[in-house]
């Protein structure tokens, strides 16, 4: 066992903790009792254990040993040719498989932070356990194993510095979500959604893998570091035919994860089929992993590259394409969201729209040591908070309690029935719209200001128009909750008693009130104090530069034309 392997383990302690915790949960709890009443107990224990695991990972992340990137270089395989030339005693080192940069730090913290909230939000999931409509006659501790695995996958994506590691990490992130969708509800809808999700995921994975293979074919290496340095030294392979095919396929594959146009089509079906908390999970984890991977690959194959302290070298050629993709994504999803009758489908399409805004964030000039700009992570977490909150509220908002609210009508009169929920829904809606004093507003401000400063003023205008379209359907969601109250004429609480179609009367679904309250407080809190969210994710200097940006340098004055006649 050499030092390299030890260092690798040390560097990945939080991820290992999550994976080990997930497996332990299953080993200890899956075989336990099969008695009916104990299912819920088992389930609760699994949830608490998952929460504990995440805390342990957080402790390891905070207190664990720091490993410098150079310590993560594997010894290069002995080459006979080189062996002859290299001096004795010197071990050649290969490129590191992990890159622990600023983005890694940000994503790890975001994963832990959202992990706590996701586990809290999924306490009531899968429904077949909590509603005791048992399918398998036992609890589902593996549900939380899946959640922990996908969090670990997300963290690994952020630290991957090799195409193969990256691919495996993405799969580790997304495969558990497929199973979770199927598990999440005792209804055929979920199974259908899971099936679709699985097949389409497989298809896009094929694209991704093929694309990564082409990248390898074009560059001869799987190391992102090597590819980056090739780009830095003027390699233009990405512009050649092979490079073009490679990048297209990678983007197509990852576009599935981030649900960019035209890979957004599956999302509404999946969100509608899955239980609401699981939808909140998909929306954050899969999306974050996709964006991190996209940024990593694009920066590697096409630049720009930060050269020591010289600033950015190389033109970021992919930016125009990403801008176009952002426009298409925002526009398509927003107009589709406008037409939905189901709130969950609306949220699905709007989630695509947020992908569009985050694509805009990809164009922001990253701070040193980042691949994905920190503002994109800020936006992602802010979006994740409000989105999870909206889904959780939705899951608790239905008048007849036996199923989740789905249509806008189901929300009618929520303010009269459950005022706190309606208030929370308003907060989440406002944050998703991007109204001030919410985290969504701050995220939009940072992203749009960053994109503007990067020279994409027209894109910012398009994004703002799209935000305005977004207000229309989000307001509809918020207003539905208050309609009955605001309109005194309609005394008839019509939605009540309309439910329970085909379902046996189920006991009341537990409302994750505490988690919703925490989410609402955080949504407003981070809107007022964005530094609170930035601080754990980024360095002090980065935070300062984002929150108090220096005025842009004055444009260089055009020197007077030499031929112009001098004026007295």
């Amino acid at each position: 066992m050499n030092h390299y392997a030890v260092n690798l383990v040390l560097a990945l302690l939080p991820e290992i903790a999550l994976l080990a915790g997930g497996m332990l949960i299953v080993l200890l709890l899956a075989t336990q009792s099969t008695a009916e009443g104990d299912c819920a107990t088992t389930h609760r224990r699994a949830a608490w254990a998952a929460l504990f695991t995440v805390f342990a990972a957080a402790m390891l992340l905070q207190l664990g040993p720091r490993v410098s990137p150079d310590e993560l270089r594997p010894p290069a395989p002995q080459s006979h040719l080189l062996a002859a030339s290299q001096p004795a005693g010197v071990v050649m080192l290969g490129p590191p498989v992990l890159a622990l940069d600023g983005t890694t730090r940000a994503v790890r913290w975001a994963a832990i932070f959202m992990g706590v909230l996701l586990i809290g939000g999924n306490f009531g999931c899968p429904e077949n356990v909590t509603s005791r409509l048992k399918m398998a006659g036992r609890g589902s501790p593996e549900f939380f194993m899946l959640l922990l695995f996908s969090l670990a996958g997300l963290m690994l994506v952020a630290s991957a510095n090799d195409l193969i590691v990256l691919f495996l990490a993405i799969e580790l992130t997304s495969l558990p979500t497929v199973v979770a969708v199927v598990l999440s509800r005792p209804r055929h809808g979920a199974i259908e959604a899971g099936g679709k999700y699985f097949f389409l995921s497989a298809l896009s994975v094929a694209f991704l893998l093929l694309g990564l293979a082409y990248v390898y074919g074009a560059t001869g290496t799987t190391s992102l570091e090597r590819i980056t340095s090739m780009t830095a030294y003027g390699w233009a392979g990405a512009k050649g035919p092979i490079g073009l095919v490679a990048v297209s396929l990678v983007v197509a594959g990852l576009a599935f994860n981030i649900a960019a146009f035209p890979y957004h089509v599956y999302l509404a079906d999946v969100y509608q089929g899955a239980a609401a908390p699981v939808s909140g999970w998909l929306a954050f984890v899969a999306k974050a992993a996709g964006f991190v991977a996209l940024a990593k690959v694009l920066v590697a194959v096409a630049g720009p590259v930060r050269m020591f302290d010289l600033g950015w070298v190389g033109e970021p050629v992919w930016q125009r394409f990403i801008a176009g993709l952002a426009v298409a994504t925002m526009l398509a999803s927003n107009v589709l969201a406008l037409r939905q009758r189901s709130v969950k489908r609306m949220l699905a399409y709007s989630s695509v729209a947020h992908s569009g805004y985050i694509l805009v964030a990809l164009l922001v000039v990253p701070e040193p040591g980042e691949t994905l700009p920190i503002v994109a992570m800020f936006y992602l977490v802010g979006y994740g908070l409000a989105n999870l909150g909206a889904f959780l509220t939705l899951s608790a908002a239905n008048p007849d309690d036996s199923r989740e609210a789905d249509t806008f009508d189901d929300l009618r009169g929520l303010a009269r029935r459950k005022m706190p929920l309606a208030v929370a829904m308003a907060i989440f809606g406002f944050s998703l719209m991007g109204l001030p004093i919410t985290v969504g507003f701050m995220g939009k401000v940072f992203v749009f200001v960053g994109a503007y400063r990067a020279g994409f003023a027209w894109l910012v205008v398009v994004a703002l128009i799209n935000s305005a379209i977004g207000v229309a359907y989000y307001l509809r969601m918020v207003a539905s909750c208050w309609l009955d109250v605001l309109d005194p004429a309609s005394d008839d609480p019509s939605p009540v008693g309309r439910g329970s179609q085909g379902e046996t009367a189920a006991p009341p679904r537990p409302t994750p009130s505490l988690v919703i309250a925490v989410l609402a407080v955080l949504t407003v809190g981070f809107g007022l104090l964005p530094a609170g969210l930035f601080r754990p994710m980024a360095s002090e200097r980065t935070v300062r530069e984002i929150l108090h940006p220096a005025p842009p340098p004055a444009p260089p004055r055009r020197p007077p034309l030499a031929s112009a006649p001098a004026r007295p």
Partner: protein, 633 residues
Amino acid sequence: MSDTSLILAIPALPLIAAALIGALGPRVFRGQSHWVAIAALVGSFVAAVTTLAHGHAYSGSLYTWFAAGSLSVDLAWRYDPLTAIMLFTVTLVSLLVVIYSRGYMRGERGYTRFFAYMCLFVFSMCTLVLADNFAVLFLGWEGVGLCSYLLIGYFYERPAAAAAAKKAFIVTRIGDLGLMIGVLLIYATFDTLSISRVLGRVEPYPLGLSLPNHTLSWVSVLLLCGAAGKSGQLLLHVWLPDAMEGPSPVSALIHAATMVTAGVYLVARTQPIFHFGGVLPVVATVGCATAFFAATIAVVQVDIKRILAFSTISQLGYMFLGVGAFNVNAAIFHLFTHAFFKALLFLAAGAVMHAMADVIDLRKMGGLWRKLPLTTGVFLCGCLALAGIPGFAGYFSKDEIIGTIFLQSNPPHPAWLVIGGAAILTAGLTAFYTFRLFMRVFTGPEVLPEETHGHVHPAGVWMSAPMIVLAIGSVVAGWFGSMVHHVLDGDAIGPLSFAWPRYEQPFEVLVAIVTTVLAVGGALLAVILYGPLRNWTLNAGLERTFIYKLLWNKYYFDEIYNLLIVRPLRAVGRLFVRVDDDGIDNALVGVTWAPRGLGLLLQRAQRGSLGGYAFTFVIGAALIGAAIAWVKW
């Protein structure tokens, strides 16, 4: 207690009370809300008296409100003779009015709201007179305007009250616009908004302040606009009579004693600017014209509160005249005495309304002295003071103003003679309409409006006590003239940075005699006409004359404004509404169809079939490849 905390307590206490009542009133204090207001105002009054007695003039700053470039706005106050008198008047009258309100407003809807507004008003008014910064002054200025709006529209269910509130707000806003531009011009000229510093630079004007031509004149004219709007001077006076829709205590406090005098205060405060801008004669002319015209209107009105409102406008005209005639001391003295007797008259009118089931038309009542002896007594005190009968409050202060006019130049300039003549005539008119009102309401055979059903509510102790205090004030306030002048001259608490020129307080014997004769004559005429003679037929005959109609319709100001300003604006507004509703809205609705249509199109592609999705995915990969090739990276 230090001077600073004592002075700051004067506005702070009402503010705290307003916040307390506003937050806790409906749930906690309810019917006892007045105690909070009374406690706060007693505190304010004690503080005001203490500082007046022991304090000395000084200025200070709480903190810098905001700073931008060279502009730095401090929450600065300035305590000097003018402020001292104003604070004393405001806190005393507001305290008495709030006590009165306990009896008058009992059982009205929104009882707590009323006291919250009143306290907010006192806070704003104190801020206004304490401010040593035009921005802070403007804050107080708008604050009192807001409270006036809220209190006029207190019975907002009544369309007339809501309309009157709106009218008051809009008309004063027109003046405020002038004030705002004036303040901006001051900033542009002097590069500061501090009142002390501006005045400090204006005063040595003859010693070489180089300013562009007429800058000071423009500043003064613009400030005069604001002052005229607030104080109901001619052309902008139309809101004040309508403001009588508010409850009577509000009329007494805001629309007689305090807020409407803010304009006089502003001109007095910035008098050097007016002086060196050469605008003082304009102020005097505006004041004189207002005094005269308002008095003539008051002669024929039949609504008790409106008569008093026109009388207020007229008396405010006197104050402007005083400032314009270079005798700020006399103007402020008149402001001081006027606060007593006019507040008293309004409160007594309120008591009459209270007793007469809110009927206010003097044609419907008569001989009330039998039913309301106390109210009759205090009303008579107020009338004597207002009419300027020798010995009562109004006599001293009004005579000072009129006397000053004839001292303007020697021999008197013809223009000043005209102004002085009008002022003396106005004194006669004032006495006439005052006693017309008194005689018709309180004397003669007893007539009660039908609405009372023969039952008369006497004023309770809560209402009587403040009226008695004010009645005493109306009688004796004039005797304290020398004390007020003592303070205003800076002998008591010392001047701050500048003092108005000292006058040997003029007492022109001839002028005094003429004025007195006219006042007493006017009063006697009214007493004879409406007393023993009870000659109603005289009125009936007059009603057909043109001049009567002119006065009855208040010189048709409302109608002219309606025709020249309101209607054209309405027409433009309707045009804009048309453009907005039909043009812009339809265009926008058209635009919203674009996303919907696109959505419909895209929705067609979402059939939920797996094969279709997979097909989309493959096409998508091709699209992405094409796009990447197209942008040629």
